[in-house]
């Protein structure tokens, strides 16, 4: 393998990863609350070929050494947290956050995860009470970090600022259920997608560094509204993804062309003598 072939094949591997990310985005174009991903690329330098100082000739402009390129690699994956458009569903358990915020959930072990995916459901316990959970069973919490429980038959309302009430069927008994906990990501870079449309912080990072409850922010809950009966569409921009796909394909094609060309050179060198 000569140098061109190595560089071209490394770049094709990186482009393959980029294509995988684009495919993931396009597959989730209709997933509620999905946040699109993109890759960050950098060039690889395979080394600088040393040149002796007596290599200097008149008219030379650069310092000694011949840099040899090694292609490109993907350095990291970026999560795009811009909000998606609202879709009205009419279901009382479908919630959407307008503005920069996340719902907070508790896993079975008590871990904190966050999501924009507001398509919640009721989980009915033995007493007939209904607990607000996600489709995977994670409990939605309120400002006091308590799960949200509504007695059977009661109608559940969420106001724009997150205040929750449950009204009895006869309309005479109104329960105050606290305020829905909404947090704002202040360090979006610390959040990672962990599957099932959930966001969590990496191991060792304190969630309080990445997200802050709305009532602790200087502006308070300003700018974030809870909408009941709506869902947030995914923020994948299909046109942008298609353009990126075409770019990636063309770059892949050119790299493959360079690989074939490098292989031909190797063949010529091998056939130098018969």
């Amino acid at each position: 393998m000569n140098h061109s072939m190595i560089a071209a094949s490394v770049s094709m591997a990186a482009l393959q990863r980029k294509l995988d990310l684009i495919a993931d985005n396009v597959a989730n174009v209709n997933t509620v609350g999905y946040k699109s991903k993109s890759g960050v690329f950098e060039e690889i330098l395979s080394g600088i070929q040393p040149q002796e100082p007596d290599f200097a000739r008149e008219g030379r402009r650069t310092p000694f050494g011949f840099p040899m390129g090694g292609g490109a690699r993907m350095v990291g994956i970026r999560l795009d947290l811009t909000p998606g458009t609202p879709q009205q569903t009419g279901l009382p358990t479908d919630l959407m956050l307008e503005g920069n915020g996340l719902f907070e959930l508790r896993t079975a072990e008590g871990g904190r995860v966050f999501t924009r995916h507001g398509a919640f459901q009721w989980q009915i316990d033995d007493a007939g009470n209904r607990w607000l959970v996600t489709s995977s069973g994670y409990r939605v919490v309120n400002d006091d970090d308590e799960p949200i429980v509504v007695p059977a038959g009661y109608e559940w309302h969420v106001a724009g600022d997150g205040t929750m009430t449950a009204v009895s069927p006869a309309g005479d008994d109104v329960l105050e259920l606290g305020i829905l906990k909404v947090v704002q990501p202040v360090r979006a870079d610390l959040l990672r997608a962990v599957g099932d449309n959930l966001l969590a912080v990496a191991d060792g990072v304190d969630p309080d560094e990445a997200v802050v409850p709305l009532d602790e922010l200087p502006a308070g809950a300003a700018g974030v509204t809870v909408r009941q009966g709506y869902l947030e569409a995914s923020n994948v921009d299909l046109i942008a993804e298609m353009t990126e796909l075409t770019n990636a394909l063309r770059a892949y094609q050119l790299s493959a062309r360079a690989l074939a060309s490098g292989e031909q050179m190797l063949q010529m060198a091998a056939n130098l003598r018969g």
């Binding site: 000569n2 140098h3 061109s4 560089a7 071209a8 490394v10 770049s11 990186a14 960050v40 690329f41 950098e42 060039e43 690889i44 330098l45 600088i48 290599f55 000739r57 030379r60 402009r61 650069t62 310092p63 050494g65 011949f66 840099p67 040899m68 390129g69 090694g70 292609g71 490109a72 350095v75 990291g76 795009d80 811009t82 920069n100 990501p185 202040v186 360090r187 979006a188 870079d189 610390l190 990072v205 560094e209 990445a210 770019n247 990636a248 063309r250 770059a251 050119l254 790299s255 062309r257 360079a258 060309s261 490098g262 031909q264 050179m265 010529m268 060198a269 056939n271 130098l272 003598r273």
Partner: protein
Amino acid sequence: MLAQQRRHDAVTHNIANLNTPGYKAMAPVNRAFPEMLLAAMGGPNPPRQPIGPINTGVLAEENLTLFTQGMLQETYRPLDLAIVSDIEVPGAVFDASGKYVAPDGTVIVQPQVYFTVRTPQGERYTRDGSFRQEPDGTLVTFDGMPVLGVDGEPIVVEESWENVRVLPDGRLVLALTGEPLPGNPQLLLTRVENPMLLVREGDGRYRHDGPEDNLAPLQPGDRAEVRQGYLERSNVDPAQSAVDLMAALRAYEANQKVIQSYDRSLEKAVNEIGRV
């Protein structure tokens, strides 16, 4: 053949980085080996003077970097920054490749402007503005190198970057009010007079290998600015690269044929003419 191989390798590297932000194309330069003088020997009437010079081949001498401005791509991310630079030098009109050849033969290369980052090996320069923010607020490149401000220290911003606006001269202010952030942070934009003295180090960063006075912070009045929400695309021309690939391949092939024909004439000389 080796020179063509180097050229092919450089074009392959350019093609691989077609979409890398801030990438500057490589352009290898060939140089002829010193010429040798041919003289006639033997024969009935040898001429008095030598016949003339003969060229003895080329070598790949240096791998230049093409410092032309890449196009800007809007990404709408507040952490993406791009430098647009078109520095003026009095008396010089730069051509498409960033050079000016004065009537007396001196070559002036257009000065370029870079972000300054700190790596464990020292200060480095880059045009790739796809930055991110560490948990403690430090502005870093995507692989974790802190970006320096005019005070020589890494830029630390406690706010979420959604609320920060970067002014064209590199100062950071609050997006809503326009007030400078605490500490008056300002990005250190380094102006490199002769960018040819920058050595490529990989990951989009360059090391400076020249006299101290080649570097200076950007002065007000210099024609360069920072744009927030944009990334500078690579300056590689894919069509030209595809053509260069083919040209290098065919030149390689032509040289291969030359070697083969030398080989055959040597074979004749050794095996047929000089048969013992």
